[in-house]
């Protein structure tokens, strides 16, 4: 059995984001899982953009992940998002999904929030009625 370039990853977030009162402009958004202490819509954006705050109890520095040099090169964190379908048959209205790691304005804290942005087609910010699953890992030095 090969152990070809084995890489250590540590899951720090896993959960499901849902819309308890249904989707719509500024409707309630909720996170159910582990690793996130707060979730909100992006300020000024009514659909399809969510800010998730990492739990301060996470390992590392106050729940943050070490940032790279600028937003481009953060090598230390990975995210995977899967949209849950809705309707019959259950399908997704989401066409694009993007993630950004927001660095705390407090010097030295690192990235302590995730920004998730979703669009439908034709391109327009949109919520997925079925919600979405999210897993976040940090890369662990060996």
């Amino acid at each position: 059995m090969t152990d070809y370039a084995v890489n250590s990853l540590q899951p720090i977030v896993q959960g499901v984001v849902t819309f308890p009162k249904g989707t719509g402009p500024n409707s309630l958004v909720a996170f159910d899982g582990e690793g996130i202490s707060a979730i909100a819509r992006r300020a000024g954006v009514m659909n399809g953009a969510y800010v998730l705050t990492l739990d301060a109890g996470l390992p590392g520095n106050a729940g943050a992940v070490q940032p790279g040099i600028g937003i481009l090169t953060d090598p230390n964190v990975r995210t995977m998002i899967t949209v849950r379908g809705s309707g019959a048959p259950p399908i997704s209205n989401i066409v694009t999904i993007a993630v950004l790691y927001l660095v705390s304005p407090t010097l030295g804290v690192g990235a302590d929030q995730l920004l998730i942005v979703m669009e439908t087609f034709p391109p327009a910010l949109a919520d997925p009625p079925g919600g979405f699953e999210i897993i976040v890992w940090v890369v662990v030095d060996q």
Binding site: T2, G57, G60, I71, T96
Partner: protein
């Protein structure tokens, strides 16, 4: 304790694919030793080579592989699992134009899979890079790539992967 449907997976690579100022793809992170544009070269079409790492002198593995092959030692293509996530672009609040992300496992007889081909298309169905040359653009700011071996033995699965969420293993320098 129960081990109901336990499914160990072995993390092989976690990388970030970006475009340098000259327009060439580059990969940072772990698990990939090289990235090129596929041939013929095109936007949004990349060939990533897995790092031979400590498996370089191992014995070929996986069903139907030649027994006794000495490195490079690829993965059984049927066991490769990949996650692709776009990083947001410059259009507020951080959207991406990339809608279709796909991966093809490149396998060599007797060696297994040592490369993956990743293609990205935008909402207009055009092959598109995950960012501009050396800088984010409206398409995005890079592509996160994760790759697992879905057929490890339990001993190969790292404790960090299957262990508790809040295992205190991460450190800042």
């Amino acid at each position: 304790m129960t081990d109901y449907a336990a499914a160990p997976v072995q993390p092989i690579a976690s990388a970030l694919l970006t475009i340098d100022a000259a327009g060439n793809p580059q990969v940072t992170g772990r698990g990939f030793s090289a990235v090129t544009r596929s041939v013929p070269a095109s936007l949004g079409d990349f060939l990533l080579t897995m790092d031979e790492g400590i498996g370089a002198a191992d014995i070929g593995s996986g069903p139907d592989f030649t027994v006794g092959v000495i490195g490079p030692n690829g993965l059984d293509p049927a066991c490769v699992r990949v996650g692709l996530t776009m990083r947001g672009g410059t259009t507020a609040p951080g959207v991406t134009t990339i809608s279709a992300r796909s991966v093809t496992i490149t396998s060599t007889p007797g060696e297994g899979a040592t490369q993956i081909r990743v293609t990205l298309r935008n909402t207009g169905n055009a092959l598109t890079d995950p960012m501009g040359p050396g800088a984010p653009n409206a398409d995005g700011s890079g592509l996160e790539i994760m790759l697992w071996n879905g057929c490890p033995t339990p001993d190969d699965a790292q404790a960090q992967l299957v262990g508790p969420l809040f295992q205190g293993a991460m450190q800042f320098p």
